[in-house]
Amino acid sequence: MAEAVLTAQDYDRSFLAEVEKLSGQNVRLCYVCGKCSAGCPQALDMPLLPHQIMLMIQTGWRQPVLSSATPWMCASCGTCSTRCPKDIDINAIMDTLNEMAGKADIDIRPKIRVFRQEFLSSIAKHGRLYELGMALKLNLRKGEPLSDADMGFNLWRKGKIHLKSPSAMNKSRWAKIFKRENR
């Protein structure tokens, strides 16, 4: 549903080209049939449906697209890409929008963003995921210290949660991967 009138400020003529370059997808192929939205398991939680996002990229509505929660709700299940009659990898476009919003520091779903940040910082530090460490830091940052404590306890009881952090060898080699300027 429209919450505001779109104006010239919301529009950016380079937006389409930017999304296409980053995602490697030709967004103009989309003829808005809606099959992506029809099959999307997360459509329920999306303020804009995938086909609407596609159409808005085509037109160039940068602001409303990048500040939409839709890309953040994407589960990356790939159903849209699998069934798209125009063979567009819509999943890759959602990733691109996430990346663009992240870089522009648009905080739509802070919890999701914090999770991704903590996950990546954990593997940047250890080379491998330190589940317990990540979970604790995450809960701290979210201000929800007991989030998933029930499940965590169950997994700990079954001996599946390690207290000690993992550590991958050859850190000097892989550490630079996490420094963006290297790419």
Partner: protein, 651 residues
Amino acid sequence: MARIGVFICHCGKNIAATVDIGKVVAAAAKMPQVKYAAEDRYLCSEIGQNMIIEAVKEHQLDRIVIGACSPRMHEETYRACLRQAGLNPYMLEIANLREQVSWVHPDIAAGTEKAIALVGMAVAKVAKNEPLLTKEVPITRRALVIGGGIAGIQAAIDLGLAGYETVLVEKEPSIGGRMAQFDKTFPTLDCSACILAPRMVEVSHLENVKIYSNAEVESVKGFVGNFEVSIRKKARFIDEAKCTGCGICMEKCPVKVPSEFEMGLGERRAIYKPFPQAIPNIAIIDKETCRYLTEGKCQLCAKLCEAGAIDYEQQDEIVTETFGAIIVATGFKLFDYTKYGEYGYGRYRDMITGLDYERMLNAAGPTKGHVIRPSDGREPKRIAFIQCVGSRDDAKGVPYCSRICCMYTAKHAILTKEHVPDAEVYVFYIDVRAAGKNYEEFYQMAREKYGVKYIRGRVSRVYQDDGSLMLKAVDTILGQTIEMPFDLVVLAVGAVPHESAIDLAHRIGASTDAYGFYTEAHPKLRPVELLTEGIFVAGSCQAPKDIPDTVATASATAAKVCGLFAKAHLESRPMISAIDPEKCIGCLACLAVCPFDAVTSEAWRGKDIAVINESVCKGCGNCVAACRSGAAQLRGFTDDQLIGEVDALCQ
């Protein structure tokens, strides 16, 4: 010494925008033997052609080079112009400055350089052109129509009524085609059989029309005016002259198999007629399922047949006949919707195609016109139509719009409400295309009068749930996803050509597009001709068509054939091979490579030489390439001319 005129066309901005015409004209004026060079905005126009004619007179030109569009477009135009100017029409060469230069090279300097090189080659070639003469070729005034659907039937009727002998070949046991399977037709809701059957009868009663049903074209040789066609009349195992069509054999035959005509929703016997109004009204034995022909026992039909028409020994028969023209009307089949994994790969019984639904709606069909769920025979109350299955779908290899599905779905939706008034009918569409006469009104009637619910959005998934089919869909206008159960799902499956039509295209030397539809000679101006002269195309084998357009193209092909047959004679193409008897050493390498059997060996001054049959040669040039002594030359493309072109380019 030749006197060459060079004329360069701007083609409006088409050529002039990226080729410096002035430079090309100036360069041409300096080329050897060129006496005159000029330019014009539209050389093909009357003004342009008059300019050429005037220049020929004024400068005593004896041959012409045109720098313009592809010769495919206007070669005939300029030949006629030369004839008008009093020159032999073959004293002409065309440099293609549009398709091969301006349209593909945006750089003006490079394009101009290439244009000058192409004109230079044409000048070098035309200097060596010789006048060529055509010959008169007689016409066989008989037409062959391939395909006995409504298109083939209409074309055969038109030709028969015009007084021309016509043979109608149909691969199925009866003529009638797809239209015979339809229940009603849009947008008038005429009963399909009621309007088709009289046409079937009419064509079968025309004395100068012969119908070969259960027959297929094997090969086509020759050319316009005189095609030699071999037709395989497949064994029917019935003596057509004796069978009265009484039908007792089909009542008693013990073998029951799914009926092709009923789309597998009903059964037929191993000896059968595809449908009651079949023409010819005679039986056929299916050799794949007949108990006697497969297991060697039964022969019940032979015992029952009072006419003694059963002939288990019958063999395929090949007949070869000559025709002056051929009309191809092989129709369409449905896309194989079982390729849609997201719709269950065809494993749901309550998901059927639109063509299945036609049979279900038909009072003479397998359910006697009752709409049922195939899984349990109950009457469905919630029915969904999914559009664009196997059309507008690049991922499935069918990016084109099949054109007929929107309208037949509207028809199905209306008929559904007529048959089951309390049914909830939903149509899931992407765009409704209703661009024919009274089509939009018909589609609106489905919504307004019958309350059919149109939801804009492609269905993503269909799955079985509690005995219903669940659709995962979206209303793209509302921005709302939908998950709803249905009792019956009808797929509006798109049209694709028959594989056998693609086969046939190879055999008659016709080209097809990426999907296998026949390619017409010109998409706008020659829509019912193929590039092979004398072969015409009608109906859905050229692209999906509704019935009005199919009938219109069918009559158009008949008119084209009538025009051809009205000529006193045809003119042969002079650009064919000739063999210089002095040079020929009689090795006959040419005979081996000729695809048209145009070469024979004859004695000449004490030696055997190869001779070209001028009425058969098509000018392909194979013999020229094979000839070791240089005796074989293609008129209009002699070694001398071609080497002249290469020399000009290499200077």
